[in-house]
Symmetry: C2
Subunit: 427 residues, 2 copies
């Protein structure tokens, strides 16, 4: 972690630069696999599963029997934990339901907005060393509340052709429609075009490595929506001496262990606090199984000493962190004035991992500064707002002239004519 003291504002852009990666090499591979899957469907899917996951499958769709067997192998203790997390995520996302918005803007001109579920959604859950079953909760629970009809989950099999028990348990608990053993670029291509086994979907959600990330970007060229552009995960902690250095260190490390390209940032008002946190990091790091990953992430990371709270706030808003922990005497100042952040954790007993798993908020959040313009995944991510309008004869008499004048001024005579015809019949 590099320490930076009261940086000048013109330097912020440079000191806040995120570690970047180029994706140009990957695009060619993605395009080639997309083309193959679009043409050859399941046959292409099998080919890439053999190539990348090293396994040959008779059937890529997970059976009910398989799910039942896997679920039986998950400990009761973990099942209860997953159920409590699910219940909290449900409460928080159910509360996000909005009623129909109805306004009669002018007498006889009734306008309303209704949210309707996206009918077919696809979720990608990475495989690899850790089974990220928590992400299933974060995506399937709101999809169910929204009323999505078809919820497809793709996740890569291991070399033996299996999916982690926790993933299968959580998927069936939440009510996924179909679980498919397919990962990487080929999974995203499959959900983009549809194959004999994989349903075509309208929107794709979920995290993944750089191949999956680029594949999701490319899928948008074919009319599929995605949850948000992805980048490495990140955490900014703003803390003063009212915070515990050991807690702050543990939070920074919990972000750093995600990947070598993760970034963690500490903003505080004394050098002493930075030193204390760094000492704690050294101590805690020794105990971590993912020590190497965390150490690499810490190389990208920075500790800022900034005396003025106003400047600290501005710097945080410039950076636009995915996760923001606020542990200061004047929490309210930061809470009330933060403009750009994905999810905010307030006080000494609110570690980021609470939101990652069980508080109820969603953990699929905008990285890479996207929180300036993007929301994290929420109930609305699984719906779209449709507007409706119904105009009576009286309503047309009220606004017809306005429409005629505006259409004419825009040079759109046929737009005007659609009103003129009706107005003539009403006169």
């Amino acid at each position: 972690m590099k320490t930076i003291i009261n940086p000048d504002k013109p330097d912020w852009v440079n000191v806040l630069k995120r570690p970047t990666q180029t994706v140009d090499d990957i695009e060619a591979t993605v395009n080639q696999i997309f083309d193959d899957v679009a043409r050859n469907g399941d046959q292409a899917i099998s080919k890439y599963t053999e190539m990348f996951d090293g396994c040959t499958l008779n059937s890529i769709e997970v059976t009910t029997e398989e799910t039942q067997k896997a679920s039986a192998l998950v400990s009761e203790e973990l099942k209860k934990a997953i159920q409590l997390a699910k219940s909290n995520i449900e409460s928080f996302h159910k509360a996000q339901k909005t009623e129909r918005v109805f306004v009669e803007t002018v007498k006889g001109v009734k306008c309303w907005q209704e949210k309707r579920a996206i009918q077919k959604v696809g979720l990608y859950i990475p495989g690899g060393t850790a089974p990220l079953f928590s992400t299933i909760l974060m995506l399937v629970v709101p999809a169910q509340i929204a009323g999505c009809k078809e919820i497809v989950l793709c996740t890569p099999p291991n070399a033996k052709g299996n999916i982690a028990n926790e993933i299968l348990y959580t998927a069936q608990l939440c009510g996924v429609t179909k679980i498919i053993k397919v990962g990487g670029i080929q999974a995203i291509a499959g959900m983009t075009f549809g194959t004999e086994t994989i349903p075509q979907v309208y929107k794709i959600f979920g995290p993944g490595n750089q191949f999956v990330t680029v594949a999701k970007q490319i899928s948008t060229k074919f009319g599929v929506a995605i949850d948000m552009p992805a980048g490495p995960s990140e955490l900014l902690v703003v803390a003063d001496t009212s915070a515990h250095p050991a807690y702050v260190a543990s939070d920074l490390l919990s972000q750093a262990e995600h990947g070598a390209d993760s970034q963690v940032i500490l903003v505080t008002d004394t050098l002493e606090f930075i030193t204390n946190v760094q000492n704690e990091i050294e101590k805690q790091l020794e105990q971590l199984p993912r020590k190497d990953i965390a150490q690499n992430a810490l190389k990208n990371s920075k500790a800022f000493m900034i005396e003025s709270a106003e400047d600290a706030l501005q710097l945080i808003n410039s950076y636009a962190p995915e996760h923001l922990i606020i542990a200061t005497r004047n929490d309210d100042f930061f809470v009330n004035n933060i403009q750009n952040a994905g999810s905010v954790f307030i006080g000494n007993f609110t570690p980021e991992s609470a939101g990652d798993y069980a508080s109820g908020t969603n953990h699929t959040l905008p990285t890479n500064g996207f929180s300036r313009a993007y929301s994290g995944v929420n109930l609305d991510s699984f719906t779209k707002a449709i507007t409706f309008q119904k105009i009576s004869e009286e309503g047309m008499l009220q606004i017809g002239k306005t429409i005629e004048l505006m259409a004419e001024a825009e040079g759109l005579q046929a737009h005007k004519n659609a009103v003129t015809l009706r107005l003539n019949d009403l006169k």
Copy 2:
């Protein structure tokens, strides 16, 4: 307009295909201009304005004096029309405000969601034959209600270096922060990177030709959000003999006059109605100044005779129209069951042009089948939802164990440790 009678469902994909355009050639030009603007700022902007708009400008920022002069030249009648439209759009978008969502998911675990404005937004308004001032209302009104701090408007100057009076009047009426005389790819590049004169923004809204569309797509690679992917405008009318063929024809034509690549579709249950509408189209077409454009668009267009209302509904949901007019005896059936549409117009006195200008709904809508997953522009398009959580000591005792178990099962020891440290202090 091609007539298609009761098409088989497997053929729907083909008969509903939209006219497409390739953008590969354009991408190279866009990349080159983006690179130039990123490096050379205003100097590059001036160069492209000379090249594409044929004018040399001393200053690209519109002055207050210029706006005042232009406003004085707009007729009082048109001003009143614009003001009425503005007032309706305001009522409808103000009603879309949502309160903070607050849930205590477990005792001591407080979670909430708040919408905060996107601080800097950029709007693109095309130049060309018709000054699309109505789009300014559709974008600036919700941006103001959301509380966006900086609202930048870019629009190309004509060969004399001027902007249409109506555009300047509407921009100042709505409270645009800065109006810049710049169009095309260079405008989008300017708002993406920022130049000496053009502010960098977080999200870009607004319509444009295929160059602007591709430029907006490319801007997302540089971390800028966009309102939605764009495509040619389209309208689907579902009507039966309770509708007036003349009205239906006028609505189809008002869409067809937008551009030669527009698409209009009629779905009805008798051949006779199709014939009546087609006769009306022939008649009305003769009177239109944009007859050639409309005629070309009609070549891409189709009239479906489908006997079953259930099948008609399914076809409409498959197509996912941007604009949907429902003028049938059983309007409610379609209104209640439509899943994919941008904006819906109900009954004989609700032409699409009402929503284009003055009913109060937004006219920036998902084309190209994107209404399966995207909303039209609405108040939320100018905000992002941030989640907050605050956990008390009691709350940590309630959910700590759950977090530990889940983090451990995902192999994320540092995530677990952030909780264990806190739990140990509480024991």
